[in-house]
């Protein structure tokens, strides 16, 4: 109860979060940050053969906010794991800043992970419950070469990161992540990214498990982070409405394939693929009848 009160107070002290269309960027001239050609991932288990991601091509530019939208099981998470380097593609290549990505050794992986970080869907399982919040943030400072910094400088950095996400480090120190609310934990995750300042952030449905009030705050912070650091944000979501509001570019994924991609306006206001149309019609609208026949019907 106390935690929720603190949330409300912080929210009240802050300017209203803004998630609006005018925060989109034109990134068409920016150099390529992450791209892929024919990326495929297959799984074999007990005689079953599944193609989770099927021969996809993509181009994400520096400073771009890209949304990958699709239903559960469409291959979004498998693709995100391949982008993060946690899973190897069965075939196809991924390019980082124009060069073929090489994560063949532990050292090369570590080097790559300095450039790409993630925020996961479930804030409650994203933290090691045995590590204190200080440890989580100190790890980030150590990872960015700040291991030998004096203790007060480290505290200063952690305080700065926490204040970026409207948290007070002094109140968090010596606490465990599970003592925070879901919204606070997800903000702490953004504070972590603020310290790491990667080139690419992969946000895998970061708002799907938190309440609607905290959602706008989290999205606002993600957009601030993109503006502040100039990083590429890959936003994985099943909520096409949300994708429209925050994205520069949208990729629609169905059964492991990209069925449509382009600028957010282009894809969502003038959809071409039947699957995109269905996703749009599935979004419930206040003051309008909701056609449930399309929800359960097929894309065709």
């Amino acid at each position: 109860m106390q935690v929720k009160n603190e949330d409300i107070i912080m929210q009240a002290n802050k300017e209203t979060p803004t998630v609006s269309l005018d925060r989109r960027h034109d990134v068409s001239k920016n150099p390529l940050c992450l791209s892929g050609k024919g990326v495929t991932r297959e799984f074999h288990a007990g005689g079953t053969h599944t193609i989770a991601v099927n021969n996809v091509d993509f181009e994400f530019r520096e400073g771009e906010l890209v949304s990958i939208v699709g239903e559960s099981g469409s291959g979004k998470t498998t693709l995100s794991k391949m982008l993060l380097g946690l899973l190897q593609p069965t075939s196809g290549d991924i390019y980082f800043r124009g060069k073929k990505r090489d994560i063949s050794s532990g050292r090369k992986k570590k080097e790559y992970w300095k450039n790409i970080q993630a925020i996961f869907q479930d804030p409650f399982s994203s933290f090691n419950v045995f590590n204190k919040i200080d440890t989580v943030l100190l790890d980030c400072i150590n990872m960015t070469g700040g291991k030998n910094l004096p203790a007060d400088k480290k505290v200063e950095l952690m305080t700065e990161a926490c204040s970026f996400v409207n948290l007070k480090f002094a109140e968090l120190t010596n606490k465990y992540p599970f003592e925070l609310s879901g919204g606070q934990m997800q903000r702490l995750m953004i504070a972590r990214i603020f310290l790491l300042k990667p080139k690419i952030l992969l946000a895998d449905e970061p708002t799907s498990m938190i309440d609607a009030c905290s959602r706008a705050t989290i999205l606002d912070m993600l957009l601030n982070l993109r503006d502040e650091i100039g990083m590429t944000v890959i936003f994985i979501t099943h909520d096409i409405g949300l994708a429209y509001y925050i994205s520069d570019t949208v990729y629609i994924m169905e059964h492991g394939k990209f069925v449509e991609h382009g600028s957010a306006d282009e894809v969502i206001l003038t959809p071409k693929a039947p699957y995109t149309k269905r996703l749009i019609s599935d979004v419930p609208k206040i003051h309008e009848p909701w056609d449930l026949s399309t929800v359960s019907g097929s894309a065709e």
Binding site: W113, Q117, A118, D122, S125, S126, F127, N128, C140
Partner: protein
């Protein structure tokens, strides 16, 4: 952590197991402090002395006596010397001389003696009775006559010149106070086949067996944990190799492997620590398999992925992001391994493949000695029953603690 400990000690099963185990540990630690000495010291020359208090006869003679006129003392004395076989033979004699034995209970000493005194005739030659039998009855009658009378016993010893000197005259009503006798020994559990104090041996053996169990459990858990962590987390080729080896060890019956290794080592090399090591080396497989399955369910958790993205080393991820999550499971596995280590030692020793018999007693060795010297056939229950009880109590307490922990860490099992 504090909350977890509180939860653990709220489990009645864990508390009962813990209390029994701590009581056994206290016995093992405190008993040698109060009753020091080598548990393998042979204090008895004969085998299997019954449990009870032993008083030195020699010292008793030289101890100041008190005269006590206790009612029924003569009958009790007769009762104690008149064995069952003697009574049956007395009834046979009475029957042979035509005495009225109708309704006689041969265990009723008073009635039997009355009839005996009335009918026994040293000169009688009942038909069919051999001379040897008549002599037996003469000796028996003499013994019974002296026992029943209020006579005296004279104790003599040879002095330096070889002449007999009267040392003491003992009457049937002379008693000594046990605390005045210089040498007495209370053998709560008697002695074993080698004349060793079974209680002292049992306490020492329980300690050794628990140490064997702890070493075996630690070795098995360490190997199983390490292989399970690596196999479950790394997967792929490493997993295939580790699981191949694990499956081979699983398919070969562990106990047979244990017997073969113990036998091939030879008795000279089989100290308690070596036996514990061999038990540990042959019983890690199920720990490895179960830890592997736990790790597989953890390795794709978000916090583990985040740790990988933070560039943490394999060792750090295993130790800080995976091991703490399965720690309760590992503790439970360790407790079970300790319990099964103690049982495995007992089984091995029972087969004569346990530790060297000259160094330390173990619960298994005590069972082995009792079996070799036919304690179970000659009714010397004190040589093996307390050992069985001790093994059962240790194993029971460990398993009870394990079940209690399981209920705390796995809420679906709570009552």
């Amino acid at each position: 952590m504090k909350n977890t400990v509180r939860q653990v000690f709220h489990s009645s099963k864990f508390v009962v197991g813990f209390v029994i185990f701590v009581a056994i540990l206290l016995l093992i630690i405190l008993y040698p402090l109060f009753f020091p000495g080598n548990p393998l010291e042979m204090i008895g020359v004969g085998t299997f002395a019954k449990p009870g208090t032993y008083v030195s006869l020699y010292d008793g003679i030289n101890t100041e006596t008190e005269t006590l006129k206790l009612p029924g003392a003569a009958d009790k004395r007769l009762d104690s010397v008149l064995k069952r076989e003697d009574r049956i033979k007395m009834v046979a004699y009475l029957s042979a001389v035509g005495a009225d034995i109708e309704g006689l209970d041969y265990m009723d000493t008073e009635a039997l003696m009355e009839l005996w005194r009335a009918n026994y005739d040293e000169t009688a030659r009942p038909s069919g009775m051999t001379k040897a039998e008549r002599n037996y009855y003469k000796r028996l009658n003499a013994s019974l006559s002296s026992m029943g009378s209020s006579g005296q016993m004279t104790v003599t010893e040879h002095d330096s010149s070889g002449e007999e000197q009267v040392v003491a005259t003992i009457g049937t009503e002379d008693y000594v106070n046990v605390s005045d006798v210089a040498n007495t020994k209370n053998l709560v559990l008697g002695t074993d086949n080698f004349g060793r104090d079974v209680l002292k041996e049992l306490v020492s053996a329980a300690g050794t067996s628990i140490v064997i169990g702890l070493i075996a459990g630690a070795v098995a858990t360490a190997i199983g944990l390490l292989l399970g962590l690596l196999s479950g987390y790394l997967g792929g080729f490493v997993d295939d190799i580790i699981m191949f080896v694990t499956n081979i060890f699983t398919v070969i019956p562990g106990f047979v492997l244990l017997i073969l290794i113990s036998y091939s080592l030879g008795q000279d090399k089989r100290g308690a620590a070596i036996v514990a090591l061999v038990i540990g080396l042959t019983s890690w497989t199920w720990t490895a398999r179960s830890v592997r399955s736990q790790v597989i369910s953890l390795r794709n958790r978000d916090h583990v992925n985040l740790s990988r993205l933070s560039g943490h080393s394999l060792w750090r991820i295993l130790m800080t992001d995976i091991l703490p999550y399965i720690a309760s499971y590992v503790v439970m596995a360790f407790i079970l391994q300790v319990s099964s280590g103690i049982l495995a030692e007992a089984q091995l020793s029972l087969l004569g493949l346990g530790p060297k018999t000259t160094e330390v007693p173990t619960l298994g060795l005590m069972m082995n000695w009792a079996m070799l010297y036919s304690a179970h056939l000659n009714g010397s229950w004190w040589a093996y029953f307390p050992v069985i009880l001790m093994i059962t109590l240790i194993s029971f307490s460990l398993n009870l603690m394990n079940t209690g922990l399981d209920q705390v860490f796995n809420p679906t099992l709570r009552d």
